[in-house]
Amino acid sequence: MKENFYIQGSVIIRNDQVFKNGDKIFQPDINVDRKDFLKAVYTFLEISYPKFHKMDDLCKLGILATEILQQNKPINSQTGLVFQNKSGSLVSDFNHQQIINDFASPAIFVYTLPNIVMGEVCIMYQLNSENFFFINPHFDCNFVYHYTQNLLENKSSQEIVCGWVEVNLESYDIFLCRVNKEKSRHIFTPENLKKAYHNNE
């Protein structure tokens, strides 16, 4: 028999707006560029983590979304991460490519791997957990559902933060949700995962 797990909460950062469980919690007063938007969210969340400012956009967005997910109840150190996106670390790849003929910078190069966002999340929240980063042209909620469900069923992780963390040169689209066995209103199914992903419309 299949074991039931539940969505404990979800976060969307999209079109310069931030949603928690479907409710808009933040939008800047005026149109700002991506850099200023990320800083505004950071300030809004009252985070104090100087390392944040050194990160690339993918990592910043991953940290901001995770911070919101764990505001009411901190995630524990065994929380696994299952992330997916389309462009990998393309923004940092471009930044590194532009300077390799002069002086490559370790501070940029280190962000040219998509899984670094999971590394940053693990460092900030001290997660000694399993990490999987998948690449797909679109958010494949069926795949992410099955992979997450399996890890939970196999007791490989007790809790998972899973979702879509796409960041490219033109746009970004972040959706993370937290899944474990505590009963909540939303049972973890591919349909409910998809609903949560579209929960700002």
Binding site: E3, S77, K86, S87, G88, L90, D93, F94, H96, Q97, I100, N101, F103, A104, S105, P106, F109, V110, T112, L113, P114, N115, I116, M118, G119, E120, C122, I123, Y125, Q126, L127, N128, S129, E130, N131, F132, F133, F134, I135, N136, P137, F143, H146, Y147, N150, E153, N154, K155
Partner: protein
């Protein structure tokens, strides 16, 4: 319920076949032959405006092979090697059903070199998802290959993904591929970390000075069913993040320590069961030191251990899979290859590094890897007779 869980965890998967394409050869056998002779793929190559010790597969040789199966101008170098490796697995295993076959592709940077070149490929080709589409269309696979990208442990995690795919009743076989190329993009980055060796790298040696980057594609065919005779079962895999630093290993080896503990628990083994460790051994000061700390914490410092990095270089997304294939050869042939590059063990490293190739009865072996982003990976392989 508890019973059901233990069944899932104990489900073994079997290595049915494998392939390595590297600068040392175009099959597992050719690669094994070369390293048996103590030959390294690492040479000095001019790339961009600098020269680096690295291993490069000659495109001319790739094209000679590839023209038998496709248009050499329609695919990038990495795609051609991935397609050749896959073709080899199909040729050797004609019974594979393309309607049920699942595939997992591991790569850190894919076709990234396209960013720095004028080319006729579409812009999307630089994305890792392009590899999935290319392989699916070329071979007419029903299922879209899954792409995993977790730095230097990518192809290890690909085996974990394969295990999950094999849990589906309808899946009989999963093909796992790992591949990365040497590019100015990657070399300049590691160079900026001052992490590259001047010469062939020397894992665990007192005079080690860094890594070599290498290029390779490794492929493995995994199955739920053992064959008659000697099999290698993959008992379990585990991956645990260090939660310490994005570009340096934890000084306490925490993630590696926890990964090995977890994999041994999952397989219901003890550290005493491990006959050989095929370690990561990049030859950077910090990595090798970290491994020593982790294995000493596990009291595994006396288990024979080697690194294969001086033969192939660090082949990034291919590394874990490539080294597992070589370790599997060792397991089946009861021998351990010399950890090339070791002359005098670093006095800060307390490990039983195999200096010259030895014969040893092997039954259960451990493969480990670590990478950027704090990733660590451990996997147990066991020889079984059916």
């Amino acid at each position: 319920m508890a019973k059901e869980i233990s069944i899932v965890l104990n489900q073994k998967i079997y290595i049915k076949d494998d392939v390595i394409i590297s600068a040392l050869g175009f099959s597992t056998e050719e690669n094994i032959q070369q390293i048996s002779k103590g030959i390294s793929a690492i040479k000095k190559h001019g790339i961009g405006s600098k020269a680096y010790y690295t291993s490069i597969i000659e495109e001319e040789l790739i094209n000679q092979q590839f023209q038998k199966i496709g248009d050499i101008n329609a695919f990038t170098k990495l795609e051609k090697i991935l397609l050749l490796a896959t073709q080899q697995l199909f040729d050797k295993n004609p019974d594979i059903d393309k309607n049920t076959l699942e595939m997992v592709i591991a790569s850190t940077k894919g076709n990234i070199y396209l960013l720095g070149e004028n080319h006729d490929f579409s812009e999307e080709r630089v994305l890792l998802s392009a590899l999935s589409e290319i392989l699916q269309i070329f071979f007419g696979l029903k299922h879209q290959p899954v792409v995993v990208s977790n730095a230097c442990v990518s192809s290890g995690l690909a085996i974990s993904v394969a295990r999950q795919l094999l849990q589906k009743e309808t899946t009989e076989n999963v093909m796992v591929l790992g591949g990365d190329l040497v590019s100015e993009f990657v070399l300049s980055g590691f160079d900026s970390f001052q992490a590259l060796a001047e010469g062939i790298c020397r894992p665990y040696d007192k005079d080690r000075s860094g890594i070599n980057i290498g290029e390779a594609v490794a492929g493995m065919l995994l199955s739920k069913q053992p064959i008659k005779g000697i099999n290698t079962a993959i008992l379990a895999e585990a991956n645990v993040n260090d939660a310490n630093h994005i570009s340096g290993p934890s000084r306490t080896g925490e993630g590696l320590y926890l990964s090995v503990k977890k994999v041994i628990a999952l397989a219901q083994k003890t550290t005493k069961d491990i006959d050989y460790i095929s370690a990561h051994g990049t030859a950077t000061l910090f990595n090798d030191q970290m491994e020593s700390v982790a294995f000493n914490r596990l009291e595994m410092q006396d288990v024979p251990l080697n690194s294969l990095k001086a033969y192939f270089g660090h082949t990034l997304g291919a590394a874990t899979l490539l080294e597992t294939i070589v370790a599997n050869y060792s397991l089946k042939n009861n021998m351990i290859f010399s950890s090339m590059g070791l002359q005098a063990l670093d006095s800060n490293i307390q490990l039983n590094v195999v200096k010259a190739t030895i014969n040893k009865e092997l039954k259960t072996i451990l493969k480990t890897a670590s990478g950027f982003g704090g990733s660590n990976f451990a996997m147990l392989l066991q020889k079984e007779m059916y």
